[in-house]
Symmetry: D2
Subunit: 341 residues, 4 copies
């Protein structure tokens, strides 16, 4: 049994993580930490867990955690996360980190977009990006993995194989993403107050969302080619789910079937990517670790040399906690699918 | 007082139309027709109208309608609509037609996309497109107006001024639209059954939606330049509202402020288009005849020569019945805003 | 023209009030106050009002307000409200107060349920309750009116006529109410964070909601008989609307039709209460000042001596701002319906 | 391995059932039947199951099914269900039946409420009601079990122990239930069309819902006392979940803690009933087989001799498919919780 700690256990990704880990036959959750509600039962914070756990929220103390666990999932905000991960890592605890702190290859890029010093800068660029569909062997060998962002996962899985195969243009790839509100986290604020976001759709952080450089960086690492993305997230009135609609120009003579074949080939042995001829919907992946993908090349109208890639996943599962457990499984030599089907 | 008839009164656009017309000081609704529920009170079909009307659903008989009304709003599906409009028009009834039948300039284009013969083909290309922001004088002089499609309205208002001013590229304009479910009409079917579309987002009719040629056609008429659009609608779990996110390449040296200034100038005296520096949300135009517009030119990241135009409106009001009354007001010499504020 | 001030203009009821008053032909809004965002345009706080108003949020100064307005709508929380109303009233400003401060007849009852001293206690019991369906003449003569609570309005309109007519039992009337989330106000907090209340239904404040004594007090004032109510509110995932399902025992020999007839007779000349044979739905009154009412006496099964009264309204309109304008109209000698249809 | 057939596999309860059974270590799904879409892949009907199954929809032929399966879950409407169950049962297939056909003890009662002849009338009154919390040993011994209705489960679990213990009155127990839309099934019709039921709450089948006699019948079987219930279901805009608010008069001297203690004692060893001091919410049981229960005795106000029992569950899981698998587990000697945690 792997003894596990969850650092920052009160949010939505932590709840999904705990629900998955409670079903995992090789895991015992040893401790859950928080900056608030110390001493309070985890099932008070997450009423879903009533009668399912006796865990109590503890303050984070790296030494005490390291004494009790083999493995930690760190669900803290960027900056704070690297601070904690650094300490756990130094004491030999293996970690999947949910924050953005170890995702980018370049420290400069990190400092440009996150506007803060990095507390663990010697590791930047050396931590595998936790997308097993592209970085499986690095993840298997790692003791620290950077869990991907939810939007980048949806974009990279759709774009990278087509770039690698030379089927689409690398310039000005447009990623128009629609996300449910749980992606904003559990801290109440006006834009996520029910009467503000129900029955409303809006774009936000247009041209300035931090997941844009992450997509560009990782697509380059997956495909070998530098790319530029124009990323626009939108908030839609649902709890969970991301659908990314991706517009790219086709390279010469490429047909729709070529693109579908390329994706199918890439994900032949990936248990959680489903390439489909039908248009996917977030409902069909909700609560699962699947990412559903399709691609269309419009054949009517004046314009016909674009591909439209559509990618969808559950932002809390394949976009966060499911991916984290998938990485955990690989890091521990378990079947990748354990507790995820 | 103008005596008005509503042809096809049981749907959602008809309900919104009736609610607006009941507030209109110069209108009396004389008859409402339907193919079903003949003899049934209108307030049985639309419980919202309890105690507000004594109208009863009647069968559509062109002669009987023409004898009683000066003006008709025709809310029938394409094909059926032109059939009815043709008869009313022949008897001297002025009409705003909600269908697509008179929107396109070219009969060929109509037949390609709508796959049907046109029952009133001599009028195709001769009917003003009911977007007063561009075709005011034609509308004022007309006795038949083609009410615009909901998606085209949101796209044209954002794109046409920038094309006309030569600020953006005419090729491969990407229109990624998100719509509430009322846009699908009131006929029950599985994709719009509550448990299917709640908590879900999906694209549909990718590259094949009939509003694509309408946008292209009308933008050309507004701006003088042929354009190509790549239009992808998405269904999001809300009742009403459309948000279109439009991606275009900038022409040389154009800045974000140039684009905003261009839009502000264009709509200086348009009472229902609000150009705003903030990002709009469908909530803020819900239940109103406003279209809110903004534009952004991203300045960070590798990619910076695209403009992102964001346009939103209520698909049942500015996208249908509000626009229809705006046209009606102009056709009758009333203040454009009557009953719409 | 009546010059109007709105004290506490940043919440949802204030927004609905402003939208109604902007359509009111006899009103000019002179000032809007707030405790935050001073100097900020009202259309920044309520983006719905873009291009509709130039009003700017001001600090509340009773003297300055009194100098500029004839009439104030006070949308502050209880306690704070009476404090402000007292000052405005002393300077001759007429007021509709949205808070609970003047609703109860008894100061003791106020202090028991609101656990605070009353800042304007000499007026308690002397202010008309702003339900024109029962207190029209008092309202017409008043210079201060207590606008009713949303739940009490839905309950009183359904119960009081049947008690007055002696048709139902006065003891243990069960009021099971379902409300949309806007009733909780605009201040973000965890229970009203979108991912917490979407896709969820729950009861709250069971047996301890402050609207319970208000219902009991006012039903007694309307009917002459003391009653006891057991009130349980529930939060359902919608923005607006209240549906109250009210269970009462029938007095001897009373039939369903007797109850419907009684309600119809009571509201014969009430323009905003619609007694219907069909079951009402909150959708059908949403955005309107209507309260829809019906009553059923089950005739199958073992139990048949209960009546089930169903009452629904829009909590922000008939449950708040629509009622306030209805009161305003009566206090000023205008047609009760002005700006409300 | 138990070979399982699912009769009527295209609805929502069938989908949830299949998802649970795919996780069940002792089950292989051998066949899925339907009256439509014969020959179509199950994953076309339920896109959630893409890549998870190769099953294809077949016509129902009792002999062919009996040849291939040990056990059937019958998800057909009442009447049709007993017809099919009768044939399978005759061929030795064990069955959990989702319909109402075997739930009532009395054929007369069945014919009164369901207005049809019963195709398998000799079994009426002889089939265990599949609520393991009360009928465990009968279920363990049975080869046919009547899976409970969703509303009755929520009501019986809350009411029966308190009746049995003599703590509450048996007369006029009021059950006010709120349900999500999936309870209406998957067949599109106007009341469940998204724009009709979103943002709306309404009561339906007031005093005439067929789950009322089921509650009364089973509570009597559980507790030994005849009771009368007044049952009013309401449709609220969410996909899944039922919350029942139950109003009963207390017997003499009973306190809130007595009621909670009684429930806790009753469900001490029931793994899927959670008795809680906090108010439950449907969100907290969504996607699970739990029923959460609490009870309150109001102590302020004029009225204090009522208990308010609040019960919530997921209508598709504990209210249907989870309960079915719980019964299946018991009928096969498996741990009751298999595949359900």
């Amino acid at each position: 049994m792997i003894r596990v700690g969850i650092i920052g256990a009160t949010g939505y990704t932590a709840l999904e993580l705990i629900k998955i880990l409670l079903r995992h036959p090789e895991v015992v959750i040893e401790c859950v930490t928080s900056r608030e509600n110390l001493g309070v039962g985890l099932d008070k914070t997450h009423a879903q867990l009533r009668d399912c756990t006796n865990l109590v929220l503890e303050e984070f103390d790296p030494q005490k955690v390291a004494d009790r666990v083999d493995f930690a999932f760190c669900c803290l905000p960027h900056g704070a996360s690297a601070e904690s991960v650094k300490r756990l890592h130094a004491k030999g605890v293996r970690v999947v980190d949910f924050s953005a702190d170890y995702r980018l290859s370049s420290l400069d890029e990190y400092q440009t977009w996150y506007e803060t010093d990095h507390p663990h800068m010697d590791m930047v660029g050396k931590v595998p990006y936790g997308l097993p569909e592209f970085f499986r062997s690095e993840i298997e060998a790692a003791d620290l993995v950077a869990n991907p962002g939810c939007f980048p996962t949806s974009a990279i899985l759709g774009i990278a194989p087509l770039i690698k195969a030379g089927l689409i243009n690398t310039d000005a790839i447009i990623v128009d993403a629609k996300t449910g509100v749980s992606g904003a986290g559990r801290k109440p604020s006006l834009p996520f107050h029910y009467p503000e976001c129900n029955e409303s759709t809006a774009a936000y952080k247009v041209g300035s969302h931090r997941h844009q450089p992450e997509m560009e960086d990782v697509i380059q690492r997956c495909s070998g080619s530098p790319v530029s993305c124009l990323f626009t997230p939108h908030l839609v009135p649902m709890e969970r789910g991301i659908l990314s609609t991706i517009y790219t120009r086709l390279n010469q003579d490429v047909q729709q079937q070529d693109l579908l074949d390329c994706l199918k080939k890439q994900y032949r042995s990936a248990p959680f990517v489903r390439v489909t001829a039908d248009l996917p919907a977030t409902r069909h992946v909700s609560g699962t670790n699947f990412c559903d993908l399709t691609v269309r090349v419009p054949s009517v109208g004046k314009e016909s040399r674009h591909a439209i890639i559509i990618s969808c996943l559950d932002n809390l599962i394949k976009g966060a906690s499911g991916a984290a457990v998938q990485n955990f499984n690989l890091m521990n030599g378990f079947d990748e699918r354990t507790a995820l089907l």
